[in-house]
Symmetry: C2
Subunit: 80 residues, 2 copies
């Protein structure tokens, strides 16, 4: 079995209110934090038969369903 670890995060130019809220919370708890950005993490398991096209399939899945390419960047690693 192949495992794809996908991270999706807002582009730098896009405001991240969830990240700002966590940053403020951490500062109020006296942690030395400069900035926080929050995104999504996904593990997609693919069957062995898909090994040859795995990279292509993952790019398609990321563009079509897992991220919004207008405001988010994605990256993934294949394992196994």
């Amino acid at each position: 079995m192949l495992k794809a670890k996908v991270t999706v995060i807002l582009k730098n130019s896009i405001l991240d209110p969830q990240g700002s809220a966590v940053e403020k919370a951490l500062r109020s708890m006296d942690y030395p934090v400069e900035s926080v950005r929050i995104g999504k993490f996904m593990e997609v398991n693919l069957p062995e038969e898909a090994r040859d096209q795995a990279e292509e399939i993952m790019h398609e899945i990321c563009r079509k369903l897992l991220s919004n390419p207008v405001i988010e960047d994605y990256s993934f690693e294949l394992e196994g």
Copy 2:
């Protein structure tokens, strides 16, 4: 500046309805997918002065604020 890349994901024993929904959507689009699990991804930037205690600080932050240790597992990598 130090960057911590944190991933938080539901423990294996915990149902992940969001992951199941994405899995079904991908199957209905004819992608060969075995399973999907969805979690969170966070980038925390720490100041240079925190380098020595960075690992300790991140464990504390992850336990106290970024994850719910009852149902989630966290991991992080330090960069820079």
